[in-house]
């Protein structure tokens, strides 16, 4: 059986159902037959980590990821240390939830020196490795689309994320590949091959033309221009056997709909176009 044509590896990233909290998202996945979930820390904080871990175990759901650690670069050493402390808390949360990966959105530069910010990212991840290893948590560097280089992440391509992974040289650091962030990359095929053995997560959604909003204008799989099936094949051929997490930030469309309907469409599109 083709690994992604049934929903045994489908996961709901709860950013897709923005109006639901942790409990509602877990219950919604159970109703829809979705076997896994990716959490966001703000939602976990609202529900409580221990309570969330209890609920997700009771529901028998797999936790494919926690969003997000990262945001490493800062102007002062004290602030950078504070960011690392926050990431240690995120690692604790991912450990308690038995999540496959803590997703790292690495953060923007505090000034115009983007290369210096990249060095801060490398330094911070290096500092976190022993703590992550001790708790059995994997750190997944998610390259973000270059349009977020100014405000969300200086790590903008799979290639540079893999440069970091190779420098870390530990199974506790890998990459998370999101179709929205990487679909345009001319060297995608080659870089996904290179990522073999280091892919800790796979996120899907679609790129709409026109894009209604730079952050909250993502599309449902099949509604945009991304050849999702081709990218999925690359990721599978690179040996990835984890979940396929649907993450759709969509303020004007999917967030306004009944979340149960959204999950029904996610399941259907996952079968037909991913």
């Amino acid at each position: 059986m083709h690994p992604f044509t049934n929903i045994s590896r489908l996961s709901l990233n709860q950013a897709t159902t923005q109006r639901w909290g942790v409990r509602e998202a877990i219950e919604g996945c159970a109703r829809a037959g979705i076997p896994a979930i990716g959490f966001w820390r703000d939602k976990l904080a609202a529900a409580g980590i221990a309570a969330s871990a209890h609920m997700v175990r009771d529901a028998g759901l797999h936790v494919s990821g926690v969003c997000r650690g990262g945001m490493f670069p800062a102007a002062t050493a004290a602030e950078r240390a504070a960011r690392i402390d926050d990431n240690r808390r995120a690692i604790d949360e991912a450990a308690e939830l038995a999540a496959d990966v803590l997703v790292l959105v690495c953060g923007p530069a505090p000034d115009k020196d983007i290369q210096a910010a990249r060095a801060m990212v490398a330094d911070a991840i290096g500092q976190l490795i022993p703590y992550a290893a001790e708790r059995g948590v994997k750190l997944g560097i998610e390259p973000l689309h270059p349009m977020y280089a100014g405000d969300r992440s200086v790590i903008t391509t799979l290639s540079e994320a893999l440069d970091l992974v190779e420098r870390c040289a530990t199974p506790h650091v890998g990459v998370v590949i999101d179709t929205y962030h990487v679909w345009w990359d001319p060297y995608l095929f080659r870089q996904i091959q290179r990522a073999s053995g280091h892919i800790l997560g796979f996120h899907v959604c679609d790129w709409l033309v026109p894009t209604p909003h730079m952050l909250l204008g993502r599309g449902m799989m099949g509604d945009g221009v991304i050849d999702l099936r081709a990218i999925r094949a690359m990721v599978e051929n690179a040996g990835y056997r984890g979940h396929c997490e649907v993450e759709i930030l969509s303020a004007e469309n999917w967030w306004k709909r009944n979340p149960d309907e959204v999950l029904r469409v996610c399941v259907e599109r996952h079968r037909t176009v991913v």
Copy 2:
């Protein structure tokens, strides 16, 4: 004297003064002491090519570029041939204006196969080379920011533009580097070094945080997060001695102001931050 600290190599890309036609832009440059201009084909069509060429010669302005050729990929061979015909007309116009370069915005894919569209771009440029060479026109492949991969250009990085240039292996094809499109690139330094001898144009503006609009939300140099001086140094160190064209698409800010004031600010910022 540092090549870019006076305005002898400053150029106005007329997209910056959207409300002005060709005549007004030429006259505005003369008033501001800006010695060069980059034209857009829609403005040239409105003013007439012969009349525009006459005016710009009379004013003693250098023509640093014509925007734009390109838009190569299409679903049918007939449509692709029509696009190439249009590019031949653009080459004729650039020749008549004695422009340094015809800027190529290569176009989006007609379907989800972005790699096939990239091959169409390579094929089309290859077909245009003899015509460009005959008329003494240089074709400048401008990699566009990856956020335009779905609707404007499948050529998204300097690296892949240089792959194309190297495949063409002719002095009639090179690259145009726009800070807005490439600033985020982790391999920018290396790729600009690689571009040495092939840089046919250099465009500047700034990336605003937040970005007010994906197409028409560009910033004045100094108002955003791009280290313009660092990128200018890379381009200079790669041997570029052409003009520095200011191209600011700004529907809600600079397009609403008095264009003479806009030119005054361009001159000032060019001296102080580029």
